[in-house]
Symmetry: C2
Subunit: 388 residues, 2 copies
């Protein structure tokens, strides 16, 4: 078990109508915010109206940045920064899913930088200060509501990069499962895949000494496996939506990776696919994951797949280990398929045009020497190829 720091001061207000406490929470930090959101869904599910009511009730001045895209673009960041500067706003409230929240984070960190915000995302420049961030979550997926990360795309450069700052951790996040009742099935499925991928990226490690983190990871995977099918059949099932929402937050806030040190493999590959093809992140992850599993299964990684099979998929522990591992991978693929996710990248219009380019860029100069199984450019190429 590796040393770790647990430091998660985000205040989570979880449950129906918790948005009624949002105004008083924001007011502790600021009197003005940029309200960031994506398309029209938040106007249908009631979260936009409730947020605006709270801002008005507590006298919090606000301007709006609408139209943030899935795989949020650097152009939205620039637009948001401009609005904040013009109106001298002191905080940011994102209402939506991970795209709106990630965009809000990078805006919050870019106001204090005079150059191109892409410098900050690409690591060329450093964040100096970050405005306080608040979120109202309407999609269970990225976990951005309680983490320090954001992912921003630059379509001109075919780039999709993760960026990080300690103060990207929101001050307060409202998690009301009823706001996800109207999420369409394909997004519920992709969101679930994203949650499960976050958990599995940390879970698959050779070292098994962080017992609690691993059992927590299995708990969250089981929650997804139990509740995603229920939410797909009965979109307004509160218990299902609530457990998926809490799983999205806990899946990436660190509680399943305390004492572990595992660089993420599948996300790295998927970010390249999204950058070149602008596909839905969770869908890409779900397609790649079983292929990645098959590819990295070997003598060293076998024990972890066996544990995964027994504890997550309830596979009979008395079967031969190899069989448990292969069955576990098959069940993972079958689960994603059962919630409506395609099994091949070809179904999303991806072919081998950029295969070599994506493999080289995904690997980067150093690869991932400490990954569950370190993979070369050739390995990445094969994993994508197997997934086409």
């Amino acid at each position: 078990m590796f040393n770790f720091t647990y430091d998660l001061p985000t205040k989570i207000l979880f449950g129906k109508d918790q948005i009624e406490n949002l105004g008083q929470e924001i007011k502790k930090y600021t009197d003005s915010v940029l309200l960031v959101y994506g398309g029209g869904s938040i106007k249908k599910n009631g979260s936009y109206d409730a947020a605006v009511r709270q801002l008005n009730e507590y006298g919090i001045r606000f301007e709006e940045l609408a139209g943030v895209a899935p795989n949020p673009r650097i152009e939205s960041v620039i637009e948001g920064v401009d609005i904040i500067r013009e109106n001298d706003l002191k905080g940011i409230l994102a209402v939506g899913g991970g795209s709106s929240i990630d965009c809000a984070k990078v805006i919050a960190g870019s106001v204090d930088y005079q150059g191109d915000p892409w410098d900050l995302v690409s690591g060329k420049a450093k964040y100096k200060s970050v405005l306080p961030i608040f979120t109202v979550l309407t999609l269970s997926a990225t976990g951005s509501e309680m983490d320090r990360n954001a992912v921003i795309s630059n379509t001109k450069l075919n780039a999709k990069l993760g960026t990080f700052h300690p103060d990207f951790l929101p001050k307060v996040s409202v998690l009301d499962p009823t706001y996800t009742f109207t999420v369409p099935n394909n997004q519920t499925a992709a969101g679930t895949a994203d949650i499960m991928s976050h958990i599995m990226e940390s879970y698959f490690s050779v070292d098994e000494s962080a017992f609690i983190s691993d059992r927590f990871a299995e708990s969250l995977l089981k929650a997804c496996i139990k509740y995603a099918p229920i939410a797909l059949t009965k979109p307004d099932d509160y218990e299902a939506r609530a457990n998926l929402m809490w799983a999205s937050t806990l899946g990436i806030n660190g509680i399943t990776s305390m004492g572990k040190k595992v660089p993420w493999s599948v996300h790295r590959i998927e970010h390249m696919l999204s950058a070149y093809y602008d596909i839905t992140h969770g869908t890409g992850l779900a397609i790649l994951t079983p292929h990645w599993m098959e590819y990295v299964l070997n003598e060293t990684t076998l024990p972890r797949f066996v544990t995964f099979g027994i504890n997550v998929w309830n596979i009979d522990a008395s079967l031969p280990k190899e069989q448990i591992a292969k069955t576990a991978i098959a069940k993972t693929r079958a689960f994603f398929s059962s919630i409506g996710i395609p099994e091949k990248l070809g179904e999303l219009g991806i072919d081998d045009t950029y295969l070599d380019e994506m493999a080289v860029r995904s690997h980067g100069p150093n690869g991932l020497p400490n990954a569950f199984m370190p993979i070369t450019v050739e390995d990445i190429r094969n994993i994508i190829k197997n997934s086409l």
Copy 2:
């Protein structure tokens, strides 16, 4: 799943030698502390010397309050408050187990109150302000290193009361498992029982909709069941001590009770035993718990015992439900016995002298109407009697 707030800003520095980061963390809040501890164990395990080195290195002025007893007394609180006032100290550092930490918390809240601190503990007066609290944990048990509670005894009144303040949550807690290598076996066992009791108090509920909290609870119980025997046999097993330590923190910090509303039953009864007989808290809990389980097992509570038996004790799910439940209780008792805890209160010198008195006071004016199974004075009397 009930609405909840997750708000846990304590920073945890977990792992070997993390105390080397303590000085810089304290310095963010204050330049002076009262150093609170119990007996001589912290001078043997190295934590006292390391803490003092950190205070000196960072120029943090300090005075000491030593000799805090297990089941910490109100007299220690008064003594600590006096030292703080005389020396104008601005923070508190507890080095030790739950007793030292709990005592530090109530001292921190009593400095700003001119009357008898017992007024604050008993609820007659309200805490006005709380000095910042820091802890170095040397015993895995109470979880006080990351919660808002403290328990203080008043031997003159045969009283042991829980008391609460949001700012009792420590600012920073250092959790170095190596400091628990020298904990004697009886304390490792009692500490484990305390951890497991915290988890079970929330776990046993009729409502099963907080799926994630319940699976997390089972994860922590399994960690205790796996690692306590290892720590007893090999006291310097880092992985075992680390998992027990992390379980103690997560067992009570709320992560297993999010979305649940269950008043604690067994702790309430045990506090009376400790108040009259000054026994080790965890030992009392371990003896009472299986008797409480047997007493509350009925048609309504059966499903939860079945889940407990299957998920925690790996009992064959195809057996009759009643049998699973009874086997689960028997396994719980056998586990506590296997780690060296007596099965009867009589072995601790407790008889029926104060039985009625303890039952009446434990029940209080209102009892616990929303408990897993609400229990009357007569019920409490029977549970204690069965445990004698």
